[in-house]
Symmetry: C2
Subunit: 209 residues, 2 copies
DNA sequence: CTGTTAGTGTTGCATTTGCAACTTTTTTGA
DNA sequence: TCAAAAAAGTTGCAAATGCAACACTAACAG
């Protein structure tokens, strides 16, 4: 997996963070990030914890747009935070480093090796983001609940090189991630169990056959 | 809109393309790109024409994953082309410049100004790609056909600063883009007309009120 | 230890959706 | 210019989905 500081030594990393005027912030579990940061143009690097970008519809429906873990990166510019339905929530106690996006592209030390590396790391991470968004679109464009579930499970299984794995989400969140009704999803999961396609118990899923 | 050669002069651009071993290719309308390019690791820059990345399900259902126009960029690495359901189709006669992704990050002239600019342009374009994918996810995660249509129309209207605009897609393609049944979409469009929320005739849409 | 909250699991029912099968209209290219 | 293909438009119907409203269990905080 790509990392934003890959192949950059500790000293260079410190220098870089200083030049970029990086700010480290701590967020308590279940708090909203948007109350404390500007929405305009920041890159967030998740040091530890977990964070979700969510959308809450006018009818109270919650959709998980992004689910971020340690090392993941998000952008306030490229996410749709101007949309009032959107929010960013720390799901656990989390520490995040914020960098102004414009500073990344307008640093003084453009010729330094560590800046070159940083830019390339940044590009690789953006590439990964695009890839995972495509995966997500690939799931969301499936027509039926069953297909969405199977596509998601199949992806997770491949990602972990195992037919049995722990789900990243609880079942309520899974429905929010797949943008389907939770009750309908539970019904379909029951069918998948009955058809002996999956087994699932306390957060652990097994794909049969 | 970001451009990959922004602020790079003609001569530097030529030098750059040579160093990157860029290859220019022409594709006839309705031909598949995958028959002629490697799937592994290319960046495609659409000089002119239009191109779609599509997925065809086992049941023959077509979904438009990306719709690309002049100046747009796509990647064979970050798209899901290892998935046999995927294909890239030239919708019109198109010319595309291909660059190997790895060359972009491993060029000799790393310290040249035009390479700096190129990298920054590349980052800005990737940012745009992420933004538009988020827009797409924002539409696809709407639960009903009506909400998907309205969210899409609303976005287009804002993008063009006008309540009346020409649709990028014909109606068959629009259903493929929104991943909904065409007949169900037609039904819902009829309702939207009856409810005096939109007007639509030969590819031109108006949002009322 | 225990009351409260969050998450799981289930069901009935109305609504929406997808599918199949058409007709009509428009576009295209030989 | 006209036949064929593509796109638009429509409908009935079965199936899938969302919604509301539950009961039950697990997790958590005071």
């Amino acid at each position: 997996m790509a990392s934003i500081f890959k192949e950059i030594g500790t000293k260079d990393k410190e220098k870089l963070l200083k030049e970029l005027e990086a700010i480290k912030m701590f967020f308590n579990k279940n708090s909203s990030l948007l109350e404390r940061i500007s929405k305009s143009n920041l890159i967030g690097i998740l040091k530890f914890g977990s964070v979700q970008i969510i959308r809450t519809d006018y009818n109270g429906n919650v959709i998980i747009i992004s689910d971020l873990r340690e090392g993941d990166i998000f952008s306030t510019k490229f996410s749709l935070l101007d949309n009032a339905e959107y929010d960013i929530i720390a799901k656990e106690d989390s520490e995040i480093i914020f960098i102004d996006y414009d500073y990344i592209l307008n640093i003084n030390q453009k010729k330094s090796i560590y800046y070159q590396k940083f830019l390339i790391n940044f590009i690789n991470i953006m590439g990964e983001m695009i890839y995972y968004q495509n995966k997500r679109i690939n799931v969301l464009t499936r027509k039926t609940t069953r297909e969405k579930l199977l596509e998601y499970f199949y992806n997770e299984s491949r990602k972990r090189y195992s037919k049995t794995f722990k789900l990243d989400f609880n079942l309520t969140e899974l429905a929010e991630y797949l943008s389907i009704d939770r009750a309908a999803m539970m019904r379909e999961i029951k069918h998948l169990k009955e058809d002996k396609i999956i087994e699932i118990s306390n957060g652990k899923l097994t794909m049969l056959n």
